[in-house]
Amino acid sequence: MKRVFAYMRPHLLFFLIAPALKAVEAVAGLLQPKIMTTTIDIGVVTGNMDVIWSNGLRMLAVALVGIAGGLGASVFAARSSQGFGADLRQAVFDKVMSLSLADVDRFSTGSLITRITSDIVQLEHTAIMMQRIMVRAPLLAIGAVIMTLSISVELGLLLLAISGILLVVVGFIMSKAFPLFTQVQQRLDTVNSVVQENLSGMRTVKAYDRGSYEVSRFDAINDLLFRTSVRAGRTMAFSGPTVSLGMNMATLIVLWRGGQLVAGRELAIGQVVAVTQYIAQVLFSLSMLGFLLINLVRARASALRVSEVLEAQPTVVDQPDADPVLRVTRGEVEFRDVDFRYPGAAGPPTLSGISLRVPQGHTLGILGGTSSGKSTLVSLIPRFYDVTAGEVLVDGINVRRYPLANLRAGVSIVLQDTVLFSGTIEDNLRWGAGPDAARQELVAAAEVAQAAHFIQASADGLNTIIGQRGAGLSGGQRQRVSIARSLLRKAPILILDDATSALDFRTELNLRRALRRHAKGTTTIIIAQRVASVMDADEIIILEDGRIAARGTHGELLRTCPSYRQLCQLQLGVKFGEGAAANE
């Protein structure tokens, strides 16, 4: 929580000026009935026109000061709350960008988005409310009591006593409502996450015609939200009438007692009227309390969620002993007895006892079953995650010794889930190339990635705009653009994590041929589902349950590894004789 409020500090001056100006407005409001008292008691009762006129003007002047305060307060409140919100939003976003992947996985994308947008909007809103109400409402109430005391000590004390009692009663109602509103907030989160999930699975929902099933699933949660909201609302429904009843009763007591005092000439009639108005002001302030409470509940939940992100510490960071000038030059990769387990995961480790070496310019192919650890293995090279045991070396140096930025600059990885960003194709390619690269360079990379053809075929060429997540391109086109993007980095190490799965045979073949020409000297690691994708690699490893089950060249594996032989038959549709090293 403290972390969140820290972002208020730069705006603290404005944040405090706003309620101060609000106080001016409130004082102006308090003065009005006081002036009116003399208008009635002196002006009206005695028929003194001068008093009536001058008091009228005085009330006008006070009103003008009041509005100046009110307007000023609005400017400062809006400025400070939006400034606070924007700073906080930037900080949370920056934090998310600096987090390690394991942390992002833990929070989940959906919840991070809510935290950056909705939660912070809630905090901004509450900040404004606080500036508008927090100071003004108590001030009005206290002011009203003081003013009443100045008119009549007896009536003032009476008002104080009744306000005190009401405050206790309202406090009790609030303490009942508070947990309920917290619960409402949680239910609301559930509703939102169900919606999020439904939207991202829309194709599947449609394919199975499960719209109505999804609606019924949603309705169940929606109904829960409804019931909790109603319970919270019902609890709150007691506070308004209670406050108003209490204050009205106070008015009656003032009339009764005031009547006696007037009769006894201890009080003027105008003063009694003024006191009744002060009571109305106390009533107004107390009812504001409930309003504020609902917001505070929401804000508290939001602040907790936001600070959870701010407090998260990225697990993968530059080591203190990292050599700031160390860069990847040759591109040799080595794993020494590497074990890895995802943080918080149960069961056997994802990788165990992995040792392998890929010399500069060589190609390593990785085949393996579902969840055998292929993607995990390569994501250890750019330090998306840190190993649990053993070490990963690049150019013979432990990856932890590199500054993260330099290490990642040396490793170009094409991920299994293709991610493109909304913008033009050129924008996307420049992620790899940088802003100064010549257009020819982009085109050349696109050619190697077999993307040049369809890019040129589109009307806008490189300027073709693609939507979120590469909408507008087919799966294969997305893969090729993302390969081109990675090639442009010209990193000594290139990793293709099942990056050609949506390409047809021929396109993939052309791609492999082009890569071979283009990426000479680049150390290449290819994860694939198809034997054909890796069969010309310098070494192929087969992963099973996080261990290397077999290794060798295509020919060696055909001889030594029955399951590899079987795989080849299955995929290539050709019978291999025992010991035969080549296809028919």
Binding site: E25, G43, V195, G211, L255, S422, G467, D504
Partner: protein
């Protein structure tokens, strides 16, 4: 207002002109006026008539108390002033006490009913919106940024909710109060009433003006928020790439620009709201001063009693307060309306509809005497057949194990389609799959394979030509019956948060546990499911992150097996499954395909080899067709594809 680009789905970016998905040809949604949005919101509230009646009744009662009480106070004060005596004070106070108690009770009833009513309305609105989203055509989702859509469903509905509760009750009670107080004032003194009313036009003018600004600014803020939401979503889901490319700094800078934009827009919106109250206070106070002045003058001239002057002083406060309250709440309602407009934009988007008079597929198919021998009966050109599949349909039609009673005879008859006008994705596609046959579709990326099966599922409407299932044009059948008879395994298999069992059961909701497990066994998903900590009852996270991609695919295959559809559609379903499991799956698939018409986008030779008919697609046209053997012999496009897969990159590889 109508020029606003952000009213289109998505946030103003036009996706590529080429490619498969994402192009939108959806009509631009017309923006609505505040009045219409309001009317429709009122329509929602109107659904809760009984509650509404209670709210109105209770509000009437509590407002009546608020109106009458000051008069009694005035009557109690008058004799005090004139005579200094309190003859009827005790009685007045007793009456007031009773009135106030009744008023408080009415207020409680009103608030309780109100909370019920507004929450019911919100529940209804959330339901309607969600149900509506389920019926939107895929073109909508292709074009819309998911983050923006999410923002509408969450943030905007929320804003509407804030405007629906207290504000509506306040508006009601304030309106009633105004009329009541007006009546009281007129009954006491007309001149003073006119003095009080003199301030009304000023109040109204300012209120309406400021409310208009507020609504516009709030809408702009909600839009900016939606855009930021979309941006954040895109970057956080792509954070691996951001990290891999060391682009954290650039991304932060870009975010900072958008953030600053939102800050400015939000500042303006908040300022508008903030300016409102002080302005109202000013007018209010001026009015108060004027009334005090006039009251003083008139009573000094003895045209009214001092009690009346005092009562008017109270009334002017009481009269101004509901006016101010209305304007203030109207402001909240305005920001709610801004949200409602965005919600209604979704509500008004045209949904996927059935043609007039559409009936379920099976029902129509049953009316046909026999299966057509070829497409000719329907006036379609007889589609060329695969060699071995040329036997009559009745021979091939396996007694279907599928509940629908469909045989699964599929005919594409001269089908053409384009996402963007003038850029055809499919052209004149004609072929026939007899019941139980397997049709393999091969072709390069972007040749239209995915689109072809999307048309069969009616994800998009066919633009020319027809698709017939058991002789029935699917565009004339109900959408539900078309999709229920298809088992579709998509490229990106999606799982929902819930147990493994629930996820498989998604394929057929009434399946028993045994059936679910049987399907999982057939899909070879059973072993890994049993290895999970709670077996079939293990919870999956929303995006299935605790499973590998291959495992997710296995579950979605199990889902399709459970659905037991007449027609099976596989889109590269095997491409992500690991090599070991793949063999097993291929066997399971063969089992599944038996007696079931299957359309497969094939990347595997074994699938292609076993197919009854292979269609080779190239740039949206069928360039070759036949069986594996036939196509190899003809030595065309297919043979080239086939050989290229077999030949290694260079000879030294082995």
């Amino acid at each position: 207002m109508s020029k606003d680009p952000a009213l289109r789905p998505g946030y103003g970016r036009r996706p590529g002109e080429f490619g498969v998905r994402g192009a939108r040809f959806a009509p631009v949604v017309k923006p609505r006026h505040a009045r219409e949005a309001l009317a429709r919101l009122m329509g929602y509230i109107g659904q809760q008539r009984a509650l509404l009646a209670v709210v109105v009744g209770a509000t009437l009662a509590s407002s009546a108390v608020a109106v009458v009480a000051p008069r009694i106070v005035g009557q109690a004060i008058d004799p005090m002033i004139t005579s200094g005596q309190l003859p009827g004070l005790a009685r007045s106070i007793a009456t007031l006490a009773a009135l106030y108690a009744a008023g408080a009770f009415a207020m409680w009833v009103q608030q309780t009913a109100m909370t019920e009513m507004s929450n019911r309305t919100l529940r209804q609105m959330r339901h309607d919106l969600f149900a509506k989203v389920q019926r939107l055509p895929l073109t909508y989702f292709d074009g819309a940024a998911q983050g923006d859509l999410m923002s509408r469903l969450a943030n905007d509905v929320d804003t509407v909710g804030l405007a629906l509760g207290q504000p509506v009750a306040q508006l009601l009670s304030s309106t009633l109060s105004i009329f009541g107080i007006l009546a009281m004032m007129v009954s006491m003194d007309v001149t003073m009433t006119l003095v009080v009313l003199a301030m009304m036009p000023v109040t109204l003018f300012v209120a309406v003006k400021v409310a208009g600004w507020t609504r516009r600014h709030f809408k702009r803020r909600q839009e900016a928020l939606g855009e930021l939401n979309a941006y954040v979503e895109e970057l956080i889901s792509g954070i691996r790439v951001v990290k891999a490319f060391n682009r954290e700094r650039e991304v932060r800078e870009s975010f900072s620009g958008r953030n600053a934009e939102l800050r400015l827009v939000a500042y303006r919106a908040e300022l508008m709201t903030g300016v409102f109250m002080p302005l109202m206070h000013l007018i209010d106070n001026i009015g108060f001063a004027v009334v005090a002045l006039a009251g003083g003058l008139l009573s000094a001239q003895a045209r009214i009693t001092v009690g009346t002057a005092a009562a008017f002083q109270l009334y002017s406060r009481q009269f101004m307060q509901p006016v101010r309250e209305i304007s203030n709440q109207w402001n909240t309602v305005q920001s709610g309306l801004a949200g409602a407009e965005r919600v209604l934009e979704i509500m008004d988007y045209p949904v996927e509809t059935d043609a007039p008079g559409a009936r379920p597929l099976a029902e129509q198919a049953r009316l046909r005497p026999t299966l057509p021998e070829s497409g000719s009966e329907d006036g379609s050109p007889a589609a060329p057949r695969a060699g071995k599949g040329s036997g009559s349909a009745t021979q091939t039609a396996a007694p279907s194990s599928h509940a629908s009673g469909l045989a699964g005879h599929v005919v594409f008859d001269g089908v053409s389609f384009s996402y963007v006008h003038g850029v055809p994705v499919l052209e004149d596609i004609s072929f026939e799959a007899l019941p139980g046959q397997t049709v393999a579709i091969v072709g390069e990326t972007g040749s239209g394979k995915t689109t072809l099966i999307s048309l069969l599922a009616r994800f998009y409407p066919v633009q020319s030509g027809r698709i017939l299932v058991d002789g029935v044009d699917i565009s004339r059948a109900t959408l539900q019956s078309v999709r229920r008879n298809l088992g579709i395994v998509l490229q990106d298999s999606h799982l929902f948060s819930g147990t493994v069992r629930e996820n498989i059961r998604f394929g057929r909701l009434d399946a028993t546990d045994e059936e679910v497990e049987r399907a999982a066994r057939l899909a070879y998903a059973d072993p890994f499911i049993r290895r999970m900590p709670n077996g079939y009852d293990s919870m999956l996270t929303a995006d299935g992150r605790n499973l590998s991609q291959g495992q997710r695919q296995l579950l979605s295959i199990a889902r399709a097996i459970l659905a037991a559809p007449a027609i099976l559609v596989l889109d590269e379903a095997t491409s992500n499954v690991d090599t070991q499991t793949e063999m097993a799956i291929q066997k399971a698939m063969l089992e599944l395909m038996k007696g079931r018409t299957s359309l497969v986008i094939a990347h595997r030779l074994s699938t292609v080899q076993g197919a009854d008919l292979i269609l080779v697609l190239d740039r949206g046209r069928i360039v070759e067709r036949g069986t594996h053997r036939e196509l190899l012999e003809s030595g065309g496009h297919y043979a080239e594809l086939y050989n290229s897969q077999l030949s290694p990159v260079n000879s030294e590889a082995s």
